[in-house]
Subunit: 106 residues, 2 copies
DNA sequence: CGGATTGGTTAGTCATTACTTACGGTAAGT
DNA sequence: ACTTACCGTAAGTAATGACTAACCAATCCG
């Protein structure tokens, strides 16, 4: 609900490795070791990234024996999309106004 | 069009100062010195951030005498929103499936 | 012209953070 | 119980990047 979650989500997705993890999870739920096997980083690194993604509200986790399954969290994504939608309207208005001010654009 | 622009946009908005700059520009077009006067950083810092935002396709600039006016670029925002929308559908599907697998959630 | 205003660029410093290695902890199998 | 498999945490290091100070370029006004 807060604006901080959106900020955390943006910062979380800014890292290339975290974005790869996120995209793999988006495909289907994954275990930690499964992700580490695909990615070019160690398993602890994956764990640390998953912690960041979880705190940002982008992923959920559940236990499955000794394994831990991670999946997407719709809440974080919705917050992000709503945040960007807020700019979208203002962006269109500003762009329209600027186009009128400089009509001789190539 | 490429996926790289989306990645650049995410990384650009991850920085707190850049997000503040972006939000001020979203309010209305601004000059560089105008932004530096409001923000707690120096003018060169603002210039560097604007360069990043511009390369990410999030802002546009035009000359106005010695000043340079920056405004939002709808293209970058649209690409970002479409990117997140792609995850949104997958997220809902994954969440629904997981809810069925663990029906005894509190 | 000459000074003043406005911005972009460069060099260098400092803080943040992503990564690996090592360790501890829990659950399943024998 | 012992071993194996899987995962999170801590410590330490290397690399990324955000910032300031100094300098240079372009435009406007007297």
């Amino acid at each position: 609900m807060t604006n901080q979650s959106v900020i955390d989500a943006l910062a979380a997705l800014a890292d290339p490795t975290r974005r790869q993890i996120f995209e793999h999870i988006a495909d289907r739920p994954r275990a930690v070791g499964e992700l580490a096997g695909v990615l070019p980083v160690s398993r602890p690194a994956v764990s640390q990234h998953l912690k960041v993604l979880k705190e940002a509200g982008l992923v959920l986790d559940r236990a499955d024996g000794t394994r831990r399954i991670y999946q997407l969290d719709p809440g974080g994504l919705a917050a992000l999309r709503d945040y960007l939608d807020g700019f979208w309207n203002r962006s269109l208005a500003a762009f329209k106004q600027a186009a009128e001010q400089t009509p001789k654009e190539k």
